[in-house]
């Protein structure tokens, strides 16, 4: 067990539809602990467990928590949160921490996508979330994984081996699934189909809004599928910035909000 030597830490909790993420930071804005778990059906319990894991990693006791800010779909279910902020605000703050200049952030989450535009001073200029449907989100890949009988974690490697990507034309997840079945029936290689799925995710996201010169990608889908980022770079014709822990950006942003609030107080 790590030595408990932290006097004051700030906690950010991002309870997403798919995963719960916790970031523990020092007042000097150093990320010292983090954890990710499936959100499951009891958001409060999951957030508690994630906190325990992240505090252990940080070497901090719960009593050292100066402020805890929650964000994400289940932000109102976190028992130890002092305040809540939206995931839009937290992703913006988290990304600006790593890339302190004007950017467009593409966050691909389990249930929704976000496009957030920040100015040079880190202030948000605009944001958009995907519409009601799950096309282009992590849920789309989660839906396709059992249909192809391919575990989610194997998708990235398979897509990178594709030599002849399958083009999927449909906007809708259900219709895309039908297209996938049609391609299986025609004997297309599974890696080519998966690359087509990745391309579909990218297409759904980039058509949400115009992108500024510098683009950052975050979220669980990005964290687990580096090849998807490479494809996105090819699609937009420039390199994409990815923070060290792309899945934790919202949680980091929430912790940073806490540090900011404590400074004001």
């Amino acid at each position: 067990m790590a030595k408990m030597d932290m006097d004051s830490v700030f906690v950010g909790v991002d309870v997403g539809a798919s995963r719960t993420k916790v970031a523990v930071m020092t007042p000097e804005r150093r990320l010292v602990g983090h954890s990710v778990e499936k959100s499951g059906t009891d958001f409060t319990a999951t957030a508690d467990r994630c906190l325990d894991t992240a505090l252990r990693m940080a070497g901090a006791e719960a009593t050292a928590i100066t402020k805890a800010i929650s964000t994400g779909y289940g932000r109102k279910n976190v028992s130890y949160a002092n305040e809540t902020r939206t995931e839009i605000g937290c992703h913006g703050k988290g990304c600006y921490f790593y890339f302190p200049f004007s950017t467009t952030i593409i966050d691909i989450g389990g249930q929704d996508n976000k496009i957030i535009k920040l100015g040079d001073d880190g202030r948000r200029i605009s944001f958009k979330m995907n519409r009601k449907c799950a096309a282009g989100t992590g849920a789309f890949l989660e839906e396709m994984s059992p249909r192809l009988d391919i575990p989610l974690e194997e998708m990235d490697g398979l897509a990178s081996r594709s030599t002849d990507m399958v083009k999927l034309g449909s906007f809708c997840t259900v219709f895309s699934a039908t297209e996938v079945l049609e391609n299986i029936r025609r004997g297309r290689k599974v890696e080519d189909i998966i690359k087509g799925l990745f391309f579909s995710v990218i297409q759904r996201v980039v058509e949400m809004d115009a992108l500024s010169p510098k683009v950052v990608m975050t979220g669980g889908v990005v964290a687990h599928n580096p090849y998807l980022v490479k494809m996105a770079e090819e699609k937009i014709g420039r390199s994409i910035l990815v923070p060290e822990h792309p899945q934790l950006t919202g949680a980091v942003g929430a912790a940073l909000y806490g540090i900011g609030l404590a400074t004001i107080e």
Binding site: Y73, K76, V78, T86, G89, K132
Partner: protein
Amino acid sequence: MAKEKKVVRKKIKATGEMNRIMAEYFYELDNASKTGERKIAWCTSVGPAEILRSLGFLVHFPENHGAMLGATRMATDMIPEANALGYSPDICSYLTADVGAYVKGISPLTRAYKGIDGVPKPDVLVYNTNQCRDVQDWFAWYAKELNVPIMGVETHRGVGDVTGAHVESVASQMEALVPPLEEISGNTFDLEELKRVVALSKQCSDLWKQVLDTASNVPSPLTFYDGTIHMGPAVVLRGTQQAVDYYHLLLAEMNERIAQGEGAVEDESYRLYWEGMPIWGRLSAHSKLFSSLNTCVLASTYCNSWIFSAFDPDDPFRSMAKAYTELFIVRSDPAKERYVKTMLDFFKVDGVIYHDAKTCPNNSNCRYGMPQRIEEMTTLPFLTINGDLNDLRMISDEQTKTNIEAFVEQLEERKN
């Protein structure tokens, strides 16, 4: 756990009087429907109601009924009935909810008003396509179902400046309605009576405008959500003395609030403009949400759409034609953008919310780049909410909430 702020919404005292005159209106229609003592016309909400009243018709507005189905959250269960008859889930959910409710033999009127069995039976159906083509299809369905005559006005669309030619064309269509309506009503058209009705409509419209304009005060004494409820008399009772009397009362209350520095939203910090249809089934939820964020959605194109400044009793047909063609919904995008810009300045707002209503493309003004153009003109930020006027299946509440909260956070960042 972060505590949710408890929201207390301020009640408008005049609401009781509004409920009374609305009840009177519905009972009068119901009585006529049951006894046949008076003829009943169904009319679109921005149709030639003044002509109908001048000929002695009582007027029922199916759009009002559609909105009631939405506000009572009954609509979503009715819509599939109409879908099964061949009316797509993608078309006007007022139409599908109203037709579905008829098929199921259900009406919110029976729940709200004891003794009323349903919508009143029409003797004639009169539309104006200025709202959209769907109203015509809607009325056509009833014309066939109930074997009732249908007639109407085919309006111009994408109108830039309203010209004499537009006015003549619509005015002559309105005049052409008179002979068949005389026959159905059994009454002879009386120009003086039409002038009297138009004068009352004009008074109603002017007072309604004054009520809505009070929202330019900081803090605003009323919200958009109040407006969607209190516009009832301006829609269904314009052309009557009751509507005029009611808006005198409501205006006095709003002015009293202003005099006392009383805002509709406690500690109003942000002021927003709503562009597009209301989400009827979420009026209360959204009103509470915005209040909890100290944000007042205080003005809208929608509530302003029952202001008819051009009405002139001395020239009733031409002035009605002008008023019903000046309507925002039939105008070109440049004309709409000029209008919205004027409203944003007048009401001193911090941002705009566009409602992209799935089943109402005609009144979703965010699909051809308008929000971006208006943002460029005004530098005011905007948010687009995906939803629907009536079909709650088209709404993601959690996503709407996150979007709204994030938008208010953005406004906060801009102010700091």
